[in-house]
């Protein structure tokens, strides 16, 4: 009896909470809510953003629309269903408003907040480039790619404060979202390119930013460079027309974009001189010293490096040298 009285008292004191909970029209497929949608949904600073009134049920019909950007009325956008603007600086918070003046009376104001953040996805392929090469390596099939995402809203956002969901070719990796997981490593899949995407959310589930990048996959390349005993590597590749001075030449085969693991332990690393397999005579499999026999001579030099587990991890090149 006491319980029934208590329940009745609660219903009398808090009627709205109970009614809302039981009869939310949107939840049960009633009139959908009119909202503002942003494209892109999570803009970077300086992005051109389109804000549109999302009105599937035609609830805006006949309404007078007034747009405000950062509190100021956008006169040119009067009665337009969408406006375009440039996102502000990183960390800025701008509110876009659309006020709908209904023909039958009454008004409704829709709001959307724009919080631009930079979301940088840095791809660091674990393939080999020469030490003197100042460019970045590129991924080749089977090699590992390290990816780092950096969010900046005026300063770097602490990675530990966010949850990251990584996808490779639209498949979630690492078993799902990871708090603080702004760095991942994954093997380069087959194909001409791989799409790496990442979503950063707060621990409460609000999305901060989302971005995808397409990464080209290349085949390893090989170049021949002259190695000077004193000065080290010459920074221009040798070609058949390169004039060679002296009777001794140390040749360095420089693989580009070869998996570092294959570079360090190649299954095949073979030199051929005039089609004859040759022992290069040093501990460095990528280096050979050639001596001229005197007079003009044309020498064909071939180098082949490859993994036998992943046959596309390799390269073979030859060069004709004129001593």
């Amino acid at each position: 009896m006491l319980l029934r009285v208590l329940l009745l008292a609660l219903i009398i004191l808090f009627p709205s909470a109970v009614v809302t909970a039981q009869f939310d029209a949107a939840q049960f497929g009633g009139t959908p809510q009119i909202t503002i949608t942003l494209d892109p949904t999570h803009p970077s600073p300086g992005d051109l953003v389109t804000a549109s009134i999302d009105d599937y049920a035609g609830g805006v019909y006949g309404s007078e629309i007034t747009w405000r950007y950062d509190g100021s009325v956008v006169e040119s956008a009067a009665n337009q269903r969408q406006i375009q603007f440039v996102a502000g600086t990183a960390g800025s918070n701008t509110v876009v408003e659309a006020t709908l003046q209904r023909p039958q009376g009454g008004a409704e104001t829709l709001r959307a907040a724009v919080n631009p953040v930079y979301m940088d996805i840095i791809i660091e392929p674990q393939t080999r480039v020469p030490d003197w090469y100042i460019g970045r390596s590129l991924p080749s099939l089977g090699s590992q790619i390290n990816a780092t995402v950096l969010l900046n809203n005026g300063s770097f956002i602490d990675p530990q404060s966010l949850v990251y969901t990584w996808r490779i070719n639209n498949k979630v990796i690492e078993g799902g979202p990871i708090r603080g997981g702004n760095q991942v490593a994954f093997p380069t899949p087959r194909g001409a390119s791989v799409v790496v995407s990442v979503t950063a959310t707060t621990p409460a589930g609000d999305t901060i930013a989302r971005r995808a990048v397409s990464v080209n996959i290349v085949l390893p390349e090989l170049g021949f460079y002259e190695k000077h005993a004193l000065y080290g590597m010459r920074y221009f590749p040798l070609t058949a027309s390169t004039p060679l001075v002296g009777s001794i030449l140390t040749l360095q085969a420089e693989p580009f974009f070869l998996d570092t693991r294959v570079y360090n332990r190649p299954d095949v690393a073979e030199w051929e001189i005039n089609s004859t397999r040759t022992d290069n005579g040093t501990n460095n499999p990528y280096e050979i010293t050639l001596r001229s026999n005197g007079g003009n001579s044309r020498t064909n030099v071939n180098f082949h490096v490859r993994s036998l587990q992943e046959v596309l991890q390799g390269s073979e090149e030859n060069i004709t040298l004129n001593f």
């Binding site: 940088d120 660091e124 080209n216 000065y231």
Partner: protein
Amino acid sequence: MKRTLLIIGGVGIICILAGVWAYFLFFGTPNPDGGVFANFNLGNTDDPTVVLPAIEPEPTQPLVDVTSPDRLRQLTTQPVAGFAEVMITASSTPEIRYIEAGTGHIYSIDLETGEEVRVSATTIPLTNTGALTPNGQFAMMQSGSGIGSEHVIGIISTTSDELRNFAIPGTITSFAATAENTFVYAAPAGNSLVVRAYNPSTNTVAELFQIPFRDATIAWGTTETGPHYVYPQTTSRLEGYVYSYTDGVAARESASGFGLSAVGSSAGYIFSEVQNGEYNTYATNKSASETNATPLTIIPEKCVFAQTDPSVAICGIALIEYPFQMPDPWYKGEVRLNDDLWEYSIDSESASLLISPENATGRQLDIIRPQFGIDDANLYFQNKIDQTLWIYEYNPFTN
């Protein structure tokens, strides 16, 4: 039978003679460089009308003339690993010091007399990169490359040509000297880089900032505080972003794109990137918060900003159609450039030609590592083709 043998023998001899004739026709220059006609080289003649050529003495110094009135001059004939214009004392005249590649020997050239002196004869084998402090007392050198590389700090003696030196432990990916006579360098730490400053006078190390990724290129500022411009190592096939670090605080600059590289100062920065299949250059003016396309395409690694006017940069620029894969082919050495020296102002957004090395000297220069001397009076740079050191008197009346 006998006659047949004679005929066969005769034909054989004719064939052999024809073969010998053909060989000499196509390959028959035993001394290709010795072809001097009408010079019997009799020597020791008493004929007074004969003028014998003077015998030039073997040069003992580099074949360069630092006192030439030309504003653009070659300073060394040997490859150089690092260089700096230094002032030993506040009252002394500036001199250029350079580290010889391969040996690590340090030389000093008096810019007034042209006299060259070896100030360090201590050999640091396989030296390929180096930096010198503006007071000329300290050097930092990279010896070797890859895993076997070593970074050495050298203390230059004023009384002998011996270099006191010691190695910095660990891996260093990039380093530079600063106006405070210290060295700044980046060292890997996990998946990031930590940037430190080493003061050789006090033998102390200070951590300046961290870069949250490993494959970074750092366009060092002239002081410890910066700004230092940092971006992921450049390739036309991957996206890059520019960050600046001033006083240890990172800022994300607005530039991003494929093939992105940058160079900057406190006034702004120049960056190039591949857009819609074209390699293009832009300049950002920080005070005006504006980014505009530059009138010429520039590889930012060929630029340096002036210290006296941080809105002005001097760049090596080749007036060619750049391939869309840039700058990768230039990094690999597949593309050689014939640069002119240009001055670009990010305030006026205009470029003006300073000098064409090919017109001035007849040499084609692929300019790298440009660096100003004291008060921007002289600009120094290296020619990528042979790593030699050059000087251009940018503002000759300053000193």
